[in-house]
């Protein structure tokens, strides 16, 4: 899944900072080449996720949150995300379901982090969704996530897992069923 697996480990839990490492611009599924890895995209490398965290879960779906901060002079448009411990990831938003209740669903137009601005991902709002965990996420564990911008450039961020009993939104979406966020 990772073209250049820059494993971002930081010693301290949740210090939140996340490293704006731009990885090669390559579409998902392409095989990496030296040229790809060397291509620095200045815009996406200016994106960091502050205070990133993910709700610990044994299996199924779970959400990740934090504050995306864009220190560049251009908007950054995130269109997809991946992580090695989930079959797939989606960018999610909250919306009114058929019965009027709030449900989460895929945000097909992605997240636009304005130039010099920030974009909050939080329970009850937009978030990153792990759609089907391939291994449990335990509290205190660091989980890498790669965000891909519209131009194909990528930034790796890290989220730390926490026990959390909120963020139980119902999922309104095709094949994944509606079992909502994972958790204990």
């Amino acid at each position: 899944m990772f073209h250049t697996r820059t494993r971002l480990s930081h010693r301290l839990a949740g210090t939140a900072l996340v490293l704006g490492v731009a990885v090669g611009a390559a579409g998902c599924g392409d095989s990496p080449t030296a040229a790809d890895a060397a291509t620095e995209k200045p815009s996406v490398s200016s994106l960091v996720l502050i205070d990133g965290w993910v709700k610990a879960a044994d299996h199924g779906m779970t959400g990740a949150f934090g504050k995306l901060v864009n220190s560049s002079g251009a908007d950054i448009h995130i269109v997809s995300a991946t992580s090695p411990i989930t079959k797939s990831m989606e960018l999610h938003e909250m919306a009114h379901g058929d019965g009027g209740e709030m449900v989460m669903r895929e945000k097909t137009d992605g997240f636009v982090v304005a130039a010099g601005g920030e974009y909050r991902l939080e329970p009850g709002g937009d978030h990153l969704m792990f759609m089907e965990l391939t291994s449990p996420i335990q509290p205190g564990q660091d989980v890498p996530v790669a965000l891909t911008a519209e131009d194909g450039s990528r930034v790796e961020v890290s989220v730390v897992a926490r026990s959390y009993t909120g963020a139980n939104e119902n999922y309104q979406g095709g094949e994944h069923g509606d079992d909502g966020h994972g958790g204990h």
Binding site: R11, L12, P139, G140, R162, S163
Partner: protein
């Protein structure tokens, strides 16, 4: 430390030069403070988290404390402890600077740091779970049984301890909640003891606290920042993970205030060997004067009785000393009783066996105060040294 300086800090800085006059100097400095404090300054105070030592040991006692002992759940091993300590360290860093916990569901409650400190202690169970029995100091084990003890399981033992202190109870309650719920997959709460001292703004900073028997309690204590530091902090002679750390004793001691009421004032003063009005030894007039244990009355009786608490609580060995940092407790009495009060007795010392236990043994043998006080809980913890930014508490034990 960013927190206002207490009398002890003045003593510590002045003692070398001024000796007995240091306390006075401290008073004058305080009174001369030209900056009128903002009305919410106690709420805004912060105590640095990072450092060689954990905060909350030599930090002048804040008004409120919660002591939370937890037990590790089955299956928690070294790797899991690393995760727990990273989570706790991160949230303690945030809360102590007045910021919400990472996943704080009540972030507004974090806005008043009120001098918050969180001190983490390890019971013997942590070393077992981590597979590091070889690094357990000999004193990290339950205290020997004493004749005066009437210990209850409900107030004793524990694998982990959080000592959470602040000058505001909401701050304490919120920090307890955040840290305990982050630990929910690692540990269960074994007991919680809550205690209090004077609130900020009610007494001159640095005033020695009073316990609920009315006594000035905490006068004769090692002075941090002086050569007394060797009594408090573990140095190179201890295991590396405890450098800059300390040993902690937490004993819940019930007071029988009903029978204490039967004593007149002179008798009460005899029990301790100090005056009730200002805590001075019965052989002197000022609180911080050295008691004269040799002094005799005209009738050739000791002024400070043989059974007096302060005579019994010291020995000729200068190593038999420790830092007391106790809190009062006052809970709802059981049906038919008037009160349920006492002391959450807390002491910090580099070596519990060498410093604390000999004195507790002396008090067990003879101390008139035992007639009105009963230990009902007892626990012992090792408090790891502090951590630098980028480290987590206990890292030198868990990932040496």
């Amino acid at each position: 430390m960013a927190r206002r300086l207490g009398r002890r800090a003045f003593l510590a800085s002045g003692a070398a030069v001024l000796g007995g006059a240091a306390a006075l100097g401290g008073r004058e400095l305080l009174d001369a403070d030209p900056e009128p404090a903002a009305p919410d300054s106690p709420g805004r105070a912060t105590v640095a988290f990072h450092g060689e030592h954990q905060a909350g040991v030599v930090t002048p006692g804040q008004a409120f404390a919660s002591f939370v002992a937890l037990d590790l759940v089955d299956g928690v091993d070294r790797e899991a402890l690393v995760r727990l300590m990273r989570v706790w360290t991160d949230d303690i860093e945030r809360l102590t600077r007045g910021a919400p916990g990472l996943t704080d569901t009540e972030p507004e409650l974090a806005a008043v740091p009120a001098g918050l400190t969180v001190t983490v202690g390890y019971g013997p169970g942590v070393l077992t779970a981590a597979g590091r029995e070889d690094l357990r100091p000999g004193w990290l084990t339950p205290l020997p049984a004493f004749g005066v003890d009437r210990l209850q399981e409900a107030w004793s033992g524990g694998d982990l301890l959080l000592q959470i202190c602040a000058d505001d109870e909401i701050t304490v309650a919120h920090a307890v909640r955040v840290l305990v719920k982050e630990a929910r997959t690692f540990a269960t709460v074994r007991w919680v003891q809550r205690g209090f001292r004077n609130s900020p703004g009610t007494v001159t900073p640095g005033t020695t606290m009073r316990n609920l028997m009315g006594q000035v309690d905490g006068t004769s204590n090692p002075i941090p920042g002086t050569e007394d530091d060797r009594l408090i902090w573990i140095g190179p002679e201890g295991p590396a993970w405890l450098h800059g750390g300390t040993g902690m004793v937490v004993r819940r001691i019930a007071m029988n205030l009903d029978t204490w009421d039967e004593l007149d004032r002179p008798a009460r003063e005899q029990v301790i060997g100090r005056r009730l009005d200002n805590g001075a030894p019965l052989t002197g007039t000022h609180e911080h004067e050295e008691p004269d244990l040799e002094a005799m009355t005209e009738l050739k009786l000791p002024v400070i009785e043989s059974f007096a608490h302060i005579r019994r609580a010291r020995s000729d060995d200068p190593d038999h000393r420790f830092l007391r940092r106790s809190y009062n407790y006052d809970e709802s009495p059981p049906a038919g009783e008037l009160s349920n009060s006492g002391l959450v007795f807390v002491s910090f010392q580099a070596d519990i066996d060498a410093q604390f236990t000999p004195i507790q043994r002396r008090l067990d043998q003879l101390d008139l105060l035992n007639q009105w006080t009963t230990p009902i809980g007892s626990a012992v913890f090792a408090v790891p040294g502090g951590c630098r930014p980028g480290e987590y508490l206990g890292q030198r034990l868990l990932e040496p």
